[in-house]
């Protein structure tokens, strides 16, 4: 999240929010080396029936484009291609329309950068717990208001899975949560069953403080190392050090408190169970942080915002690091001074894992357009980026970054039937999602009001009378 937005969102957070206690279960699971896959989900698929989508131009998310059919049974994709016998599945004619996997947005603040924004203190912004540089013991799921109108807005834009991240105001910001974009009453009902959590970290300007540690980039690295060393000790104590086959770095320079939940979370990242999501813009910062993380055995990393990723694209590809960017943000702060629209295309051309993210709610329903702009910039620079390649930036690549590539992000037998039927080429501003399926159920239907969720917030407001 950019600094302007951060200050907008958090300026009013004069009240220090009490850190939410981490569930004992989290801690126990982390200690057992299962820290990445914790709290239970109360999610239930919406009512659904088997269906066959016929005749669409399919971008399968794995790099293929074909005209064909997709058969969906019991919430899973069972067949792709020319389907002769779909049995009793409901037939939906998608001729002339386009079909993509449900879009995946790996960087959102839904429910915590709460709409509408107001200035009534902690009622509207819980993006970051800012009382310490390491709040790895916090989990953003404890703050999410699931009736944020942003969720249904994203769903109407074709997004079926979203990661809600803590903010970037501190070094180690806590655990993320991954949700289906079906607005429900509690967060648990939205939670993607079995999805790993992620761990947010932030380099550079946003997490540098005035007066309190860390006040500089070098201080940030010292703080990061200290936290990771404490986690290694914790891991060794739990026997996890042996499991990872690595020797810990030795005693940390000094403990900073926080209890074992912080160590457990970082230990899970070291053990490879908790993918790290690193907010970082500058190429030098990215390289520095990746080197430290790698030194501690953390290699499942996605760099977010990454305005200068294009300067080190081959290195990022070599390190197997995903990079989530905007197509055209530059200049709004010094760390983004060198942002160029070819960023994603250059990452892709180097063989890297390029991803488009929204960060701000307005872009949550425009991921297809964000991708269209970034791909077009690459084509103008002479790179070959057809639609079937670009769609990966908001489907399979994004799934990989959040550890769900075996369940979502591609249209293939066995995958969740998270699908979007677009009225036309999804990279045209004139195309819209006609139908959005989540696990084979219609979660959004542009032509059926009963399948277009409206948040509690929007009810009964005279200003919204007449808005469909």
């Amino acid at each position: 999240m950019n600094k302007a937005l951060r200050s907008l969102a958090e300026a009013a957070l004069a009240l220090s929010l009490a850190a939410a206690p981490v569930a004992a279960k989290d801690r126990a699971d982390a200690a057992q080396g299962a820290g990445a896959d914790v709290a239970a989900s109360d999610y239930r698929p919406l009512p659904r029936q088997d269906m066959v989508l016929v005749g669409a131009t399919i971008l399968d998310g794995a790099g293929r484009r074909l005209i064909g059919d997709v058969l969906v049974r019991d919430g899973r994709i069972v067949e792709v291609g020319a389907i002769a016998d779909a049995g009793n599945a409901k037939r939906i004619d998608a001729t002339g329309r386009w079909l993509t996997p449900g879009l995946i947005d790996i960087h959102t603040h839904y429910g915590t950068f709460l709409l509408p924004q107001s200035d009534s203190g902690g009622d509207w912004s819980d993006i970051t717990e800012r009382s310490a540089p390491n709040v790895a013991d916090t989990a953003i799921e404890h703050a999410v208001r699931s009736s944020d109108p942003g969720f249904s807005h994203a769903l109407a834009g074709g997004v079926t899975t979203a990661q809600i991240l803590p903010g970037s105001s501190v070094l180690i910001g806590g655990r993320s949560v991954i949700v289906h974009t079906i607005p429900t009453v509690t967060l648990a009902q939205m939670r993607f069953p079995g999805a790993p959590q992620g761990l947010k970290m932030a380099c550079g300007g946003n997490s540098v403080n005035e007066g309190t540690f860390p006040t500089s980039r070098q201080g940030q690295i010292a703080g990061l190392k200290r936290a990771l060393q404490e986690a290694e000790l914790y891991l060794a104590k739990q026997g996890g050090g042996e499991k990872s086959g690595r020797k810990p770095h030795g005693p940390p320079g000094g403990r900073q408190g926080g209890g074992e939940a912080r160590e457990a979370t970082l230990a899970a990242a070291i053990a490879g169970e908790l993918p790290v999501h690193l907010h970082c813009y500058r190429a030098d910062d990215i390289a520095t942080w990746l080197a430290v993380l790698k030194d501690f055995g953390i290699t499942r990393v996605t760099v977010h915002h990454a305005a200068e990723a294009y300067k080190i694209a081959p290195m990022l590809a070599r390190e197997n690091v995903c990079v989530a960017v905007w197509p055209d943000w530059w200049g709004f702060k010094r760390e983004a001074e060198d942002g160029i629209p070819e960023n994603a295309a250059f990452i892709d051309a180097a063989g890297g894992c390029a991803i488009m993210h929204s960060d701000i709610p307005m872009l949550g329903s425009l991921l297809n357009i964000e991708t269209a702009k970034a791909a077009a910039a690459g084509r103008r620079a002479g790179l070959d980026i057809p639609p079937e390649r670009a769609i990966r930036w908001i489907t399979s690549n994004a799934a990989r970054a959040i550890g769900l590539e075996h369940r979502i992000g591609t249209i293939a037998p066995g995958m969740n039937a998270d699908l979007v039927v677009w009225s036309g080429d999804p990279f045209s501003v004139f195309s819209k999602p006609d139908l959005v399926l989540i696990e084979g159920a219609v979660a959004f239907d542009r032509s059926d009001k009963s399948r277009r969720p409206v948040s509690d917030f929007e009810l009964g407001r005279p200003q919204r009378e007449g808005i469909e």
Binding site: K3, A4, W329, G331, I369, D425, R461, Q463
Partner: protein, 417 residues
């Protein structure tokens, strides 16, 4: 997906530079017309002729548009290019003053910097003209906005104090909208009295500089721009225009669709953000993506600004405007109206007069696009301002070329490339 043609346009080389330029095989789009095979002949800084299949004068430099769209340059109805250089760098940031002394006398034009990268980038994105407005940090009046012209051959400033900006938000006026409206109404009332300093009541709130800034508003020479999104605030803005007989432009207008008829009747224009869809604040609960379509249907004069939480407003103003227009067109606004809202709409809103458009005798400001200008994936193939092609080289294209994948095996570090 429609194939995007690579950037190179066929430029049939003629002697290095000639005063006459001919753009052939253009698809002319101006909101009203959509004509193919058009030849536009430019002499000096002026359009000499526009004709389907028109002849190319002897010795003219020819740019073959290859059937691609040609429009007037984009016009940003509200932006801060030229007064914002780099976000967060306060020494490049002049968009606002917190001084309560200046009020309406704050004149943004004095801070304009033609070398700002926001200007360079806007020009490359096909922006030709813009209203640069002040940010509101104190009081009810933010100060005067300036009309700018991005032709690099001429002065950036086209007209200083081209509109006066105010806000209906109470946050800078003591915490209540009622205070903001009282301050605005009082200021207009004080400025309306005869200009005899000796006879001014001692309890007047305005100083001479602010009175001077308000006079052109009362004379209807420039409009008063009032930031308002909430229905009740827009209604107050309409009342203000009626009570003082002044031209009012509503900035924001998230709920303007609810007062479309009244706005049209009062001839109050709206500068709106077509990317608004979410209730970002309690002032925009009734926001909707077909706001522009509903206003157009009622005949409200409008132009677009696209904020993108301020990212698009100044850093990506051209691309942002086109994306906004594309979204509006995808949500019920006609393509012509959408194009007008990001080209000629600005002049109509701020000056009350239509801009000259693409016609013989008009300034030769044109953009050739590499695709549908309403598609965000398109970009300018050629920007022509004041009759001359603008250099496509920007800081961003230099970074692009320096770090292009084809150079990844270059043994020399980027600083040597």
């Amino acid at each position: 997906m429609r194939a995007l043609v690579a950037l190179a346009l066929l430029v049939c080389a003629v002697p290095a530079f000639s005063q006459t330029l001919a753009i052939t095989n253009a698809r002319l789009l101006d909101g009203d017309r959509d004509e193919t095979g058009v030849t536009i002949v430019v002499q000096g800084g002026t359009i000499a002729s526009v004709a389907r299949g028109g002849a190319v004068p002897q010795g003219a430099q020819v740019i073959d548009a290859g059937g691609r769209p040609v429009t007037a340059p984009l016009s940003a109805a509200a932006t801060q290019i030229g007064v914002i250089g780099m976000g967060g760098a306060t020494n490049t940031e002049d968009s606002a003053a917190t001084s309560t002394v200046l009020g309406g006398a704050f004149d943004i034009s004095r801070a304009l910097d033609p070398d700002a990268l926001t200007i360079q980038e806007a020009r490359a994105q096909g922006v030709g003209k813009a209203m640069v407005f002040p940010t509101q940090r104190s009081g009810a009046f933010g100060g005067a906005g300036a009309l700018v012209d991005l032709d690099p051959a001429g002065p950036l400033l086209k007209e200083r104090q081209a509109a006066l900006f105010a806000t209906s938000s109470g946050s800078t006026s003591g915490g209540s909208r009622a205070a903001a409206w009282s301050l605005i109404r009082n200021a207009l009332a004080e400025a309306r009295r005869p200009a005899d300093p000796a006879n001014r009541p001692r309890d007047d709130l305005l100083g001479p500089a602010e009175i001077e800034a308000l006079r052109p508003v009362l004379a209807r020479r420039i409009p008063l721009a009032v930031a308002a999104n909430r229905t009740a605030d827009i209604r107050e803005a309409i009342a203000l225009s009626r009570d003082f007989g002044i031209r009012v432009v509503v900035i924001g207008g998230a709920e303007a669709w609810r007062l479309a008829e009244q706005l049209a009747q009062a001839q109050v224009s709206v500068v709106l953000d077509p990317l608004d869809e979410l209730p970002f604040s309690y002032e925009s609960v009734g926001t909707r993506r077909d706001n522009a379509a509903l206003l157009a249907k009622a005949g409200v004069s409008m132009a677009f600004m696209v904020s993108g939480q301020t990212i698009y407003l100044s850093y990506n103003v051209g691309a942002g405007l086109r994306e906004g227009a594309g979204i509006a067109a995808a949500n019920g606004l006609s393509r012509g109206d959408a194009l007008r809202a990001i080209t000629s709409g600005m002049a109509r809103v701020w000056t009350g007069k239509a801009s000259a458009g693409i016609a013989a005798g008009a300034p030769a400001d044109l953009v050739i696009w590499d695709g549908d200008p309403l598609e965000p994936s398109s970009a300018p193939a050629r920007v022509i301002l004041g009759g001359k092609p603008v250099s496509p080289v920007t800081r961003q294209t230099l970074l692009r070329d320096r770090y292009h994948p084809r150079r990844s095996d270059d043994p020399m570090p980027p600083a040597y490339r």
